[in-house]
Symmetry: C2
Subunit: 246 residues, 2 copies
Amino acid sequence: MDSIKNRKTIRKYKLTDVPSELLNSLLEESFRASTMGNLQLYSVVVTRDKSMKEKLAPAHFNQPMATSAPVVLTFCADFNRVSLWCRQRKAKPGYDNFLSFMNAVSDALLVTQNFCTLAEEVGLGICYLGTTIYNPDQIIDTLNLPELVIPVATITVGYPDENPDQPERLPVCGLIHEEIYRQYTSEDIDRIYQEKESMPENKKFVEINKTETLAQIFTDIRYKKSDLELMSDKFIGVLRKQGFFK
Amino acid sequence: MDSIKNRKTIRKYKLTDVPSELLNSLLEESFRASTMGNLQLYSVVVTRDKSMKEKLAPAHFNQPMATSAPVVLTFCADFNRVSLWCRQRKAKPGYDNFLSFMNAVSDALLVTQNFCTLAEEVGLGICYLGTTIYNPDQIIDTLNLPELVIPVATITVGYPDENPDQPERLPVCGLIHEEIYRQYTSEDIDRIYQEKESMPENKKFVEINKTETLAQIFTDIRYKKSDLELMSDKFIGVLRKQGFFK
């Protein structure tokens, strides 16, 4: 499938709007993904309003596409709707626990990826904002998410106004294990990361960031232990507040 | 896209094998999914060996497709490979925390869904085994998963030997929220679940299970609070053991 094989993240969009009908029909198709007990443990919040995008932007560290994309979609793990249904049907829901959160996360992320594929198939460009799980509290407040609903992925959507190079990927043999997981030797690691490290753009990246190695950019600048620990505590607080972790 | 629109879970497979070359090329394409910092925080374990399938089967509650499918794929959240790379490059990895687990889960599940779409496009059938996160400890033991690796999805793969009906889905308007999440009224819930509840197969399901409502099948039989609480504790234990939760 060319759209998956050739895919790249699009961060700049044309001003052209994405029609509601098209968006809803792509979402409807995406909801065909596998789902726990056919319960569809997700909701999608569609943001088109300029002022709403501006309210969401700080949660996404003000990345430009969060406000410049015509559509921002927040995919949420959702056990609220099912729980309301249960209570209304003389059934006592028991989904205020961590495993239920994980089930809803799975449902929501399968749908997210399905949507991305479908959007790209019709010529739209998307960008996945990983920031969603860094600042779920701000998103919850802005989007008015009730208990048992937590945002897990944000996708910006629009018609591409750029054509970036496709990012590199590790050699596939480094990610697949036959029958059992074979722990990597230091030679394996060298072999797997060799191409990535020798790419001119990554060498330049090291130069600009003034680190000794490419890996240090990740550990010392982009994804630092101290930040991740703070955000872990925040996320667990959100799980508690939204009722998934007693 | 017809393959997504018409998709259905396939639990019965022909004996025909799935060639390694085809499988690897589908996995390679699936690895084009969005990934945090282009770090590809996942691994896939391919199970073809009969005795290995039999060892995995109890973790999947011995569902027949776990042993009858020619291929079983276990998609894992993986911060082990990246951490080894960091250490080998004078970088100190700080990924033994919950947020890193969530980042790796996102990466792994996007790839899982990408793989499913690609497999279905070439005529393969898949079944998503939700049991993976119920019994991760057994899977970790069987597949020899090291610290910072946790299985998050299992997919059985093969050429379809059945053609089941497509399962119903809730009306799309019940899952999409414009601008903010609008809490459901009891009328909304009735409207959203009406079609599902009135389907002859679901009515029969209620009859067979001797419950008063369809919702009670989920709360009292299929996904019980007490089971989910036990499995939540187990999962958190696994997070701790695999080094994601101190």
